[in-house]
């Protein structure tokens, strides 16, 4: 049995991701236990961790620090695969521009920036922020989590800020709105995505299924 834990630090909707994981497990005939928890004991006992996040980074970081999730993640990444999603990915960076500037966990080098206010699409229309909907993801790294997913397949995004990684970070996928941004990054035991695999239908479920069998190596 695989034991998954979705890290719950009191910020928003974690049920979608838990439901998607359960669905993927059932589909693959895998016995899966999915806990949604902020309890360090539960998180330490899990085989794999999901680090989701929605909402404002300041509130997320305050809860992450209060509950000691930052130290726990640092420790757990030495031992087991972690999938970070959306604001979870952003929280891994050093600093975010959101809420007037917020220090993040700093597991990955780089910052989180806002999309430009006055960007325009090819027809001259102002681009709406948040970037909301289905955009193609260009795979910039061969990685087990992309297995069975074609290059440039679309995933569901909803975000106003994006990760701008330092050169030390391995970018696994990019998207454009309209400038190119980091849609996925990879490190030992870590895969982080800006989009929502749990809401990205076939491709998203495939990525989650790939995560269930990933050994943590690129």
């Amino acid at each position: 049995m695989t034991h998954l834990a979705v890290i719950d630090y009191g910020m928003g909707n974690l049920h979608s991701v838990a439901k998607a994981l359960e669905h993927v497990g059932a589909r693959a005939g895998q016995t899966l236990r999915v806990d949604v928890s902020g309890d360090p004991a539960v998180l330490r006992s899990a085989d794999r961790l999901i680090f989701p996040g929605v909402g404002a980074i300041r509130d997320c970081m305050a809860e992450i620090r209060r509950l000691g999730i930052d130290a726990l993640l640092r420790e757990q990444l030495q031992q087991k695969p972690v999938l970070a999603i959306c604001v979870g990915m952003q929280a891994l960076m050093q600093r975010s521009e959101e809420n007037g500037g917020v220090d993040c966990i700093g597991l990955c080098e780089g910052n989180v920036r806002r999309f430009a206010f006055d960007a325009r699409d090819a027809e001259g229309n102002v681009l709406k922020v948040p970037h909301m909907g289905w955009s193609p993801v260009r795979q910039t790294l061969a990685h087990p989590l992309w297995q069975g997913i074609a290059d440039d397949e679309r995933f569901y995004f909803v975000h106003s800020y994006y990760v701008d990684p330092a050169a030390s970070v391995t970018v696994a996928g990019t998207s454009e709105y309209p400038q190119r941004f980091c849609a996925a990054l990879a490190a030992p035991n870590l895969f982080a995505v800006q989009f929502h695999p749990e809401k990205s239908q076939r491709n998203g479920l495939q990525l989650l299924q790939n995560f269930l069998s990933w050994n943590g190596q690129a």
Binding site: G12, H15, S16, M132, R154, Q201
Partner: protein, 256 residues
């Protein structure tokens, strides 16, 4: 390739069944919401919107069960609206598996509710639903006003100002319905949609009046909608989602 325009089928549900009325009368039964949502998802719908129009009761347990059932099988974004009045209502819907909630009348009664909701749950899950009706005379500059109670009750609020205010309060997206067009199959109110879409920074979903696929194209190209919502053209088999996507693609619109 870039961000796709979204096609969103809408399930108007009364006591756990999908229905669709013409201007809120003549309600026809269109079936089981879970089955329908799953079918649309399999066909390539980009999101699903579920509107609870059960008028008779404050009891949302049927809705919560339906949302749970849909969310266990449908892995695209799900918006739930209808009867969202308190933070607890939002929490209940998110816990049931909704990704966003639509707030309509409650925003008009208490605009601060939108601000509180966005602060608590994040703008990304707060959709403000705006029902607007044209109130200017022919020949005048067009003006639209916010109406509640299915288009029966005027509020005195100017639609464009209201839309901007709701975005300032933290709405992450607007669902704009023309009460003049809803159920008529004569197409979106394109002037209304364009005016609102150009006045706000967040995505706008056009709704109300779709009768054919050209209406969807017009909503995006002329009305500047980021997404288009339709109910009856899909429920009663006039068009499928793939047909709609093919038509949009043939007209130069990027779709998934």
């Amino acid at each position: 390739m870039s961000l796709a325009k979204r096609i969103i089928p809408c399930l108007d549900c009364d006591n756990g069944r999908v229905v669709k009325g013409v201007k809120f009368v003549d309600i026809r039964d269109a079936g089981d919401p879970v089955e329908i949502a799953k079918r649309y998802c399999d066909q390539g719908a980009d999101e699903i919107t579920f509107l609870d129009i059960t008028a008779s009761s404050d009891d949302r347990s049927t809705t919560i069960q339906t949302v749970e059932a849909i969310a266990s099988e449908v892995f695209i974004p799900l918006t739930v609206g209808g009867g969202i009045r308190k933070l607890q209502d939002i929490r209940n819907m998110l816990n049931a598996g909704a990704d966003k909630v639509g707030i309509n009348t409650s925003a008009v009664i208490n605009p601060d509710f939108v601000r509180e909701a966005a602060e608590h749950f994040g703008s990304q899950c707060i959709v403000v639903a705006i029902d607007a009706k044209c109130v200017s005379q022919p020949g005048e500059t067009q003006r639209w006003e916010i109406f509640t109670h299915g288009g029966r009750k005027a509020t005195g609020l100017d639609a464009i100002e209201w839309a901007q205010r709701m975005v300032n309060y933290g709405a992450g997206e607007l669902l704009l319905t023309s009460m003049d067009r809803d159920g008529t199959k004569s197409g979106f109110d394109l002037e209304l949609n364009r005016a609102i879409s150009e006045a706000v920074s967040v995505p706008v979903i056009a709704s109300g009046g779709v009768g054919n696929l050209q209406h969807l194209v017009d909503g995006i190209k002329i009305g500047k909608a980021d997404a288009v919502l339709a109910a009856s053209i899909f429920h009663f088999g006039e068009y499928t989602i793939p047909q709609a996507k093919t038509y949009l693609r043939e007209h130069g619109i990027e779709v998934r």
